[in-house]
Subunit: 407 residues, 2 copies
Amino acid sequence: MKYSQLFPKTQREAPKEAESINHQLLVRGGFVGQLMSGSWTFLPLGFRVLQKVTQIIREEMNTTGAQEMLMPLLHPKEIWNETGRWDTAREVMYQFKDTRGREFALSFTHEEIVMDEVRKHLRSYKDLPIKIYHFSTKFRNEPRAKSGVLRGREFLMKDLYSVHVDEEDMYRYYWRVKDAYMRAFKRIGFEDIKLTEASGGVFTDKHTHEFQVLAESGEDTIYYCNECDWSQNKEIFDGLVGQDCPECGKGKIWQAHSIEVGNIFPLGTRYSEKMGVFYTDEQGERKIPYFASYGIGPSRVVGTLVEVSHDDKGIVWPKSVAPFDAHLIGLSGNALEVYTKLKEAGVDVLFDDREVSAGEKFADCDLIGIPVRLVVSEKTGDRLEWKLRNSEDKELLTLEQAVNKLL
Amino acid sequence: MKYSQLFPKTQREAPKEAESINHQLLVRGGFVGQLMSGSWTFLPLGFRVLQKVTQIIREEMNTTGAQEMLMPLLHPKEIWNETGRWDTAREVMYQFKDTRGREFALSFTHEEIVMDEVRKHLRSYKDLPIKIYHFSTKFRNEPRAKSGVLRGREFLMKDLYSVHVDEEDMYRYYWRVKDAYMRAFKRIGFEDIKLTEASGGVFTDKHTHEFQVLAESGEDTIYYCNECDWSQNKEIFDGLVGQDCPECGKGKIWQAHSIEVGNIFPLGTRYSEKMGVFYTDEQGERKIPYFASYGIGPSRVVGTLVEVSHDDKGIVWPKSVAPFDAHLIGLSGNALEVYTKLKEAGVDVLFDDREVSAGEKFADCDLIGIPVRLVVSEKTGDRLEWKLRNSEDKELLTLEQAVNKLL
């Protein structure tokens, strides 16, 4: 794509109210725009990143045998009353009356809505397991949303729900989803990620698990072992930093700030019991199914990537989710020809074709953070200057060499 | 995919309250589920159709140079007040106060939100045209939603917005989008579709255009020429059925029922003026940009397809948006082997592997409506019985022949 045609361009200054790094860099780079506090447009450049994050998560969910669908966002009060969450989750839910006095909530999660659909169809053990997920908007009544796209009044969520004959089958799939989450987060580009034990909040009495990315700017505090996989969050940790790990006995407990990018909930039979969901087992007996839910916020993932991967010049996107494969800067006449050839070779390239100074083009390139920078100028002749975003090394390559390294 | 693993299965009876054909067949086939009146889950089978419709629309929007993004659904009252639509569109908008007394609307369209983002970035004529679109949920306060997925309290919408230096450039792009819409609707499988002149409703004072699919069950009434492209909707038609066409003079005016699947609005400067959106032209003068918007409801498109393409046994999906390429019915032992080979060859196949009667499998296959039915049985030996959904002809093919016809 030609940068001259992209809406919008970069901006020099971050908005005054932007406190967090992701807010500052994503707005300056033209990735997102703020409608109001906690409410974001993913502009074309940001949408490309969001789509790549989404597609990686989709692929990993599908490997677990889960099926994609799409559920409504406006929910009747009656369904939320069945589990009591109309009252217990009132603080986080937007609730309102329509002009005819009927009461609704905006989706902050979908357990009740999934259970309602499941009970219409579930008859026999042969119908289980059920594994369904969607990418959809969630709303949370946030009094002060100050963390950029990390925390909003509304945000994108991938939520998966699974229904099982018994606890054993639920946990078998639960750990399979855990593995799929870890694969997704690695593919997205997170390096320091912990599976952290946590409490269930308004979801369940059981312990649940969070996926926490270590980040200095993180709002969460977690405790983890420096030797094994043991980790707990602040809500449930009951020990001292520096003590021996209760799990392996060899390592020590460390403390760190972190950002939660996903969570998984082994809900058990709480929702099925309250909502009257049953199935008939092989012996013809009526049984209560086990239920679990699993969330990842793709928009939050984008913000987290910026928090952990940037420098003083701008964002440094991992290759797997970068908005383009390469950023081509044209400083001489034959840049358009190079752009055309790169596109024909199948390279997804952003071409800065504007009539602005070289300095401005280089600064915007660093701000936008595409992993590979290519420069065509008088100096490079019939070659291209190749430079990675996170390195100062430059080399001169032929077009063919550049294409081979990119594809 | 194995049908035994798909959630949910078909159901014999339509819900009692289901008045429309799309409601009856989509629920019976397991494509959609109703949460409440006018509120639908697209279940895995229905989501596949929705995704294919969406992808065709996306491809055609991209050919016009439009850029995909994603905008918020919760909007502050202040923005809707700038154009006066907080009051004039009050009847269709869900409006509510949060717990802190702040007033919001749920998105029923996005003109104001787009204009707010555009005015933050638009400086010069060099920034124009801007062409941005998204697929997102829309909400409408519908008192009685009785048309299945055709009319809902919430639904999926592709809305595109374009901003231009002048009226001429706006109309140039307007007609280009019209062509892209026509291509999209043809690819989706609509045969009888009319471009119909209409009034602008709460959007604009100008005449707009609707894309109307001729359908006996349609709620709309349109008038069209039996010779040329002339067509008007009921709101603005001021003539008699049977009279000479005012456009070509050769044809006669006919009347028909129809379903609206898309609309395009040449909004002009109304929104830019009210919201203070400007740009600087080549002479350095401050100018008001021209604005247009363009909508297609992909969920409504799915319902319309069912209304115009079904028989007494079930749905007849066009090939381009069918949930699978082929429906394989296994009545003998080697069906699993055939299924595996079809998948390996790249055929997206639904394999009915259940232990139910042949009659039930054939009935479900007709209800679900995948274009190609393949049967493996004792009778077919090492071949496959090939039958199209909309034909009674059967032929015996080798696996290789079947694959070649499918790909």
